[in-house]
């Protein structure tokens, strides 16, 4: 198997330490930069000559998995990407753009920062947050909400605690200072993520329709500005680093990890948004992976033009940086601006006000050549189109093979698991498992309220509800993926991730609108990993069609595997946007009144497949994905939407991780109430209470509206059952007292805190 990784560290370091002219480029050089032989030949053909070292470096990053999506783009294009409300095509801008009414649009996207976080959790996570916010405000939108999706190894391991502490602090320090609230997220623990944690960051922003900015460049003679932080040697070849497995030597790639400065980014945000108002902008793009080279080539390719860039003009953090280092640096908090000629002073004035660098480094040219100069020497001369995704970057279909484990998973039989005698003891254990317990220890370290739009602080719901100022409307956001399900069955698991995100939006009173995805997988050159990828894409696509939630963009992160642990669970994280057209229709999850009846909408199953209970209490790691039927799911969600619109219910909460018991408990804790329910003898008690069959929602209804509720549910032809009622304080199951809600609250809310504080 040919892995795109550096052949050996010494020669890599040698290459990095010599000047461009000293290196005679051969295929060996290309291989050390992670290029394949075919790719090297292709570069020679494009240029009509052998590239010099700087040019080779350019191709190596632009054709890296991270920038080119070469092993994924073919499949990504099979996802549904059309919708009336989409204002930007998937992948064409830095983030998706959805019309949300009132003359406004929402820009949103999720992105991974896994590899940097594995090595330097604090900076890795911080710059992940910084990068995703930049993607949003580079489109002219002011970020209003952040979410994140995190995955680590087992929490009781010291290494995991170190990573969790660092990542949470990194996200907090960056987001809190930048001033965008973290309104939601998920944290999942499994040993497969022990060496390779996943850090996926989501941001959403709002822009007036028509004021959004494109990442384009045109108009020969228009000046090109670099603004924001100075350029240093941090993060050189970061994109290439992200495109290889994590190995023992990965820690030596520390210079590939960038350093974040939320203060600079805050200034950059304010200055960038002010620039838009001047009308001087042609286009703008942030610098993330592959820095100047990526932004200059993508903008030029988009606007069908070329550029001349004078690298010696770039403000530097350190002396004697070489041309390829300046081109490839991934120093954070920088933007590339193409400006209308004659309006340079306007730009300069605004950046002076915010005390930020703003330097003209070149100009737009006719044709398609990107020409980079360093003190009059032409150091690289390449066609823009040849570098980018959708242009000359290579596209592959990889070999795919059903993994051996997949058929073994199907062998699982629930009858081989004996039913527990002490249901209460199991429930107590379950609610304290890190995957189930409250993530309070994590989210209290994030500023969740700055911006005064988060409407979930005092009214919790399944998705985060963020009001839109000066309107009655709100946005609902959710990130979701149960990667254990995806591992057990990639097709079903990915479809469930979409369905569950939609269910959460619906339970909050919203209408699912569109998704962004962050596809975290192992090495695509491993046929079994590629099979997981292929099937997850299919499942996601089918579910997106069913919920009318097109894919607006996102990112792919391959090579999430380590020499010790193998590939991580396939983890296609879904970030979903929903619309609540009027706040009077928002719904919350907390129980409201003693005496309200509790109903379960959706079908109960004798199913414990892939549940937290089966995996982490029974210790069975391999089973099929839980029960899931897309049509049933759509029906249940429609019915609940109708109940909310008709004002028939007082709360709605979906059954997900931990099953019905956990759903009931969460509603009880949030409402400071108890519940009294009965199980059904037709089902195993463990399946009834802890099974994770999909498509189920717990609602409560006032006694006088019960008939109306039943009538509506019957019209929708969905399954439902009455479970019991809300009590003042205590929990009862089948008449047995399970204790007071305060007792359960302490177990649930403080389990992770107790583990982290020793």
């Amino acid at each position: 198997m040919l892995l795109p990784t550096f052949a050996d560290e010494k020669s890599f370091n040698y290459l990095m330490s010599t000047t461009t002219t000293e290196v005679v480029v051969t295929f060996e050089t290309a291989k050390q930069l992670g290029l394949l032989e075919d790719e090297f030949e292709k570069i020679k053909k494009v240029l009509g000559r052998t590239p010099n070292f700087t040019e080779l470096s350019i191709y190596s990053v632009m054709w890296s998995e991270h920038c080119s999506y070469k092993n994924s783009i073919k499949l990504l294009k099979t996802l549904p990407r059309e919708g009336d409300k989409l204002l930007a095509k998937a992948g064409e801008e830095n983030a998706g753009l959805v019309d949300i009414g009132n003359g406004l649009a929402c820009a949103f996207k999720i992105e991974s920062h896994n590899h940097p976080s594995a090595i330097e959790p604090y900076q890795g996570a911080a710059t992940g947050v910084g990068g995703i916010h930049r993607d949003i405000f580079t489109m002219g939108a002011r970020p209003i909400a952040a979410l994140n999706s995190l995955r680590f190894g087992k929490l009781n391991e010291e290494k995991t605690k170190h990573l969790l502490r660092g990542v949470v602090k990194g996200i907090g320090d960056y987001g809190n200072a930048f001033g965008v609230p973290t309104v939601g997220g998920e944290v999942f623990f499994d040993e497969c993520y022990s060496t390779n944690p996943l850090v996926n960051a989501f941001s959403a922003g709002i822009v007036e329709v028509g004021k959004n900015v494109s990442a384009t460049s045109y108009g020969a003679g228009n000046p090109v500005f670099i603004v924001g932080s100075a350029t240093g040697k941090d993060g050189i070849h970061g994109a290439t680093f992200a495109s290889a497995d994590i190995t023992e030597d990965s820690a030596e790639k520390l210079p590939s990890v960038q350093v974040g400065d939320p203060f600079q980014e805050k200034l950059l945000l304010e200055a960038s948004l002010e620039i838009i108002e001047t009308g001087a902008l042609i286009g703008m793009q942030d610098m993330g992976a592959a820095g100047i080279i990526c932004s200059t080539s993508e903008m030029s390719a988009k606007g069908n033009s070329g550029m001349k860039i004078y690298l010696e003009k770039v403000p530097l953090r350190q002396q004697n940086m070489k041309a390829f280092e300046i081109l490839l640096s991934e120093s954070q908090e920088r933007m590339l601006l193409v400006v209308k000629k004659g309006m340079e002073d306007k730009i300069q004035e605004i950046f002076d006000k915010w005390d930020l660098n703003c330097v003209c480094i070149g100009e737009v040219t006719d044709g398609d050549r990107l020409q980079y100069y360093m003190y009059d020497e032409l150091v690289a001369d390449v066609p823009a189109e040849s570098l980018v995704l959708g242009g000359g970057a290579p596209i592959y279909t990889r070999e795919s093979r059903e993994p051996k484990y997949f058929s073994s998973a199907k062998q699982f039989n629930i009858n081989n698991i004996s039913e527990p005698n002490d249901i209460r003891a199991v429930a107590e254990q379950l609610v304290q498992l890190p995957n189930i317990a409250s993530k309070k220890w994590v989210y209290e370290q994030y500023d969740s309220m700055v911006g005064i739009n988060n409407s979930s602080t005092n009214a919790p719901s399944d998705a985060a509800v963020v009001r839109i100022k000066n309107s009655n409307a709100a946005l609902a956001f959710k990130v979701d993926c149960n990667a254990r399900y995806v591992y057990c069955d990639p097709y079903k698991g990915a479809a469930i991730a979409v369905a569950e995100a939609a269910r959460n939006i619906v339970c909050s009173g919203g209408e699912p609108s569109a998704i962004t995805n962050c596809l975290n997988f192992g090495n695509p050159y491993n046929p079994e990993v590629y099979w997981q990828f292929e099937n997850a894409i299919k499942g996601m696509g089918d579910a997106c069609l069913a919920f009318s939630t097109p894919v607006t963009g996102g990112n792919v992160s391959f090579y999430n595997q380590s020499s010790d642990d193998g590939p991580v669970f396939p983890t296609p994280t879904i970030g979903m946007l929903g619309l609540i057209d009027h706040m009077k229709y928002r719904m919350t999850l907390n129980f409201k009144n003693e005496g309200d009846y509790i109903y379960l909408i959706g079908e109960t199953q004798n199913d414990i497949n892939a549940s937290e209970y089966l995996a982490n209490i029974c210790g069975v790691k391999l089973s099929p994905a839980p029960h899931f039927n897309l049509d049933e799911e759509v029906g249940v969600q429609k019915a609940v939407k109708d109940l909310i619109r008709k004002k028939l219910i007082n709360s709605a909460h979906d059954c997900s991780d931990g099953g019905l018991f956990v759903a009931l408990l969460e509603s009880a804790i949030a409402g400071n109430n108890g519940f009294d329910i009965s199980t059904d003898d037709f089902f195993r008690k463990d399946a009834f209470l802890f099974g994770e069959a999909q498509g189920r929602i717990v609602v409560t209804v006032a006694e006088e509206l019960q008939d109306e509720l039943i009538k509506t549910l019957a019209e929708h032809e969905v399954d439902f059952s009455m479970l019991g009622e809300v009590t003042d304080n205590d929990l009862y199951i089948d008449g047995e007292k399970f204790g007071a809600v305060s007792y359960w609250k302490d177990l649930y809310e403080n389990a992770i805190g107790r583990e982290m504080e020793y």
Binding site: A177, W354, D447, M449, V450, T457, A459
Partner: protein, 244 residues
């Protein structure tokens, strides 16, 4: 009365305060830039607000750089002439660094940033910001900070207690001031203070985050209303003086 809201580089609660004052409370607001050297057109019954955020990134001690911003000389003169100044969160930290308020705000006891709803209890009604507050009520107000652990030496503390300079203390939802309700290790559960003249106020909790029913909490609005109504009375006094 009118308000001036100072924007420092890195302020991030500036627009929240402006929104609450202009949209929710229908007050006149003038936006002030940290590079301004003077406060033009402000009278002693007006109020300058230093909002929350991370001025200059707070990479040094919080507020330690912002206090050298050009506008701070003008804010100090304004305070010395009797004008109202309110610092919220980072603004409180800046006021301590600038010497307009006594004491310091140290790193939270557990060294973590903390953001959550807490309850605070006003100590008395003898200041503009507490005049109309209910002394028996636990006000639910959010906090969001890493450095809110207030400290002052014992001698000063007893003087502050005697002078009524402690404005708010963290408490539980039943108004009990106890260790469990202390979110950051702060001395005597102190959440907000004033100077001896009682025209400069600093508080770590964010009342501007609790002023709209759509956000599910309006406890914070009373703090602004108290200030506005108190300042209104001063205006009437001034008018009376002029008429006399």
């Amino acid at each position: 009365m009118k308000f001036g809201v100072v924007i420092f580089p890195g302020s991030n609660c500036d627009h929240d305060v402006i929104h609450v004052l202009e949209t929710v409370l229908q007050q006149e607001v003038k936006i002030l830039w940290h590079k301004d050297k003077e406060l033009k057109g402000f009278e002693p019954q007006d109020c300058i607000i230093l909002p929350g955020g991370f001025s200059y990134g707070d990479y040094l001690r919080s507020g330690a750089i912002a206090r050298f911003s050009p506008i701070m000389d003008a804010v100090i003169s304004f305070a010395n002439s009797g004008g109202f100044v309110l610092g919220i969160c980072n603004g409180f930290q800046i006021l301590c660094e600038a010497g307009l308020l006594p004491g310091v705000l140290m790193r939270n006891g557990n060294r973590n940033f903390v953001c959550k709803n807490v309850f605070i209890k006003p100590s008395h009604n003898d200041s503009a910001i507490t005049a109309d507050l209910d002394l028996n009520k636990a006000y639910k107000i959010p906090i969001a900070h890493a450095e809110g652990n207030y400290y002052v030496d014992a001698k000063q503390l007893s003087r502050m207690n005697e002078n009524g300079q402690i404005l708010f203390r963290y408490c539980d939802e039943n108004s009990n001031v106890n260790d469990v309700a202390n979110p950051n290790g702060t001395l005597e559960n102190i959440a907000g203070i004033t100077n001896a003249r009682k025209n400069v106020f600093g508080m770590m909790p964010h009342p501007e985050r609790a002023t709209e029913s759509v956000l599910g909490n309006v406890d914070g609005i009373e703090f602004f209303r108290s200030l506005i109504s108190y300042a209104g009375k001063i205006e009437i006094d001034v008018m009376d003086d002029l008429l006399r």
